[in-house]
Amino acid sequence: MKKSNFAWTNYLYLLPAVVLVAVFFVTSIGYTLRLSFYEYDGFSAMRFVGIENYRHLFQDANFKISLMNTVIWVVFSLVFTLALPLLLAVLIKNSAWVGGFKNIFYYPTALSSTIGGIIMVAILSKYGIPQLFGLLGFESWVRDWLAIPYVNTFIMILMGTWQGVGLNTILFITGLSTIPSSPIEAAKIEGARTTQLYTKVIFPLLQPTTVVVLLMSLVNSFKVFDSIWVMTKGGPYRTSETLALTMYQESFIHGKFGVGAAVAVVLTIMILIVSYFNIRNTFGDTDRTA
């Protein structure tokens, strides 16, 4: 009797966390999924419309642009936040000032992406860098760079790179430090050149870190909201929206909560596909027994 009572109290430890997650998140997922099949303006009664919201989305030019922008964000940030940090990590490890360089490339990551975005808006406005190009004779460049459709997405990705490489660089530096030294020594003795040493020995050994960084960056680049919202609000004319912004626009600006919910569901499906590999990678071997 006493024993069963004891086990029952063990669940009390879980209670607050489980209640919060259930109330705020698990029910929310169900609600959003359901809402995506309804028409709802936030005030009147919800009206069931079946898959109409999804049909509307895939015929909507804005949504197609948004989907395209999301893919561009994911592909390009992947290149920048994977290749550049790897290069930086190798350089920093061989530099004369490891601690200092780590800090320099990491500090933007510590800042809020809202702050980073606002500073970038100032730098890329007519009073910032474009002014410099004006003095060099490129008069047509003197304009607000973030207001140039389609170009601004790439500029924002570069800005994301400025804020995003820090964490991955640190992860790679840590990864490089944990590589066992014996295979490297052996390759050196056999006369491997520095480039060979990296491509044939060090990078393959670094693969576990690379997979973690890859999957994490992939998920994060789908989720970017704050910095785009601050820099362009998805404009001009909704040309720089990604799915994260389209969801917000449709729901909270245009009052089409059903359509917004459908966008959220599409985004979720894309992220879940990546997360599946992420979770399998995180819990793959160690926790199956736990």
Binding site: Y13, L20, I170, T174, T194, L267
Partner: protein, 272 residues
């Protein structure tokens, strides 16, 4: 030998060159924030400020835009939510890693699921739920939500850490007559002060830096957190905005230097 040293020069030069790009935005913001509005709009950004307009721009921040109130709000939300989330996560992580419960992995995944989905899927229902329960645009509503969103990640980190604490210690404490709560309080918490401090600070930082929920779940200046307040400032007065950015980054930068010693421990907890 000669070749190696030349390699080092190349490495250091490339890094110094890249560093200039990485430091530039901070320098831009700091120089800009000392200028007057006209001086900024008419001059070149690389000119040094003529005289320091610090007091005037600070007055601009304190003025109509709710920056100071926003910082006070964010401090409240970040400290209370991060603290509550850490406590709730300690309890859950302890139960999952060391107490006798059925299917610990299912409970773990249930709570962990909070970190997997994109935040957009929570936005409408939580907005609606807060409105219905009259918690929309209230401090309590913000604290509750931020607590909830910090819990899954804290639990994830702490569970990993608790799993490394051996069961033998608990067994011997149990034999000495400790109940499970005493074991948690006397053994687990003291053994994990470092990770607890790190996750508290990083969650504080996350809440402080967060924009989307702050923008969506508040409407009045009295409730709005700092990042949302900054985005609603007057775009025309750039020096004041830049100063607001620098001021609002002070907690983040303090934290960055605080965590610097625990860099390797701290980095892993930065992302959500």
């Amino acid at each position: 030998m000669k070749k190696a040293s030349r390699g080092r020069i190349v490495v250091n030069s490339v890094l110094i060159l890249l560093s200039i790009f990485w430091i530039f935005p901070a320098v831009f913001a700091i120089i800009g924030m000392f200028k007057k509005k006209q001086e900024y709009n008419l001059g070149n950004f690389w000119d040094l400020p003529k005289g320091i307009s610090l007091a005037e721009n600070l007055k601009g921040i304190a003025g109509t835009f709710g920056m100071i109130k926003g910082m006070a709000n964010s401090f409240l939300y970040a400290s209370v939510s991060a603290g509550a989330a850490v406590i709730i996560a300690i309890l859950a992580a302890y139960a999952i890693s060391h107490l006798k419960i059925k299917r610990p992995m299912v409970w773990f995944l249930f709570i962990y699921s909070g970190t997997i989905f994109p935040f957009q899927i929570y936005l409408i229902p939580v907005y609606k739920g807060l409105t219905v329960s009259q918690l929309y645009d209230t401090q309590l509503g913000m604290i509750l939500f931020y607590t909830a969103i910090c819990v899954p990640f804290c639990m994830f980190v702490l569970r990993n850490y608790f799993l490394s604490i051996s069961k033998e210690i608990c067994e011997s404490a149990k034999i000495d007559g400790c109940n499970s709560l005493q074991i948690l309080g006397h053994i687990f918490v003291p053994m994990s002060t470092a990770p607890l401090a790190v996750i508290f600070l990083t969650q504080f930082n996350w809440v402080w830096n967060e924009l989307m929920f702050g923008l969506t779940f508040t409407k009045s200046r009295e409730i709005r957190p700092v990042m949302a307040a900054i985005t609603l400032m007057d775009k025309a007065n750039v020096p004041v905005i830049l100063m607001a950015c620098v001021v609002a980054s002070i907690p983040t930068l303090l934290l960055f230097f605080l965590l610097n010693k625990h860099f390797e421990a701290g980095y892993a907890y930065q992302s959500k």
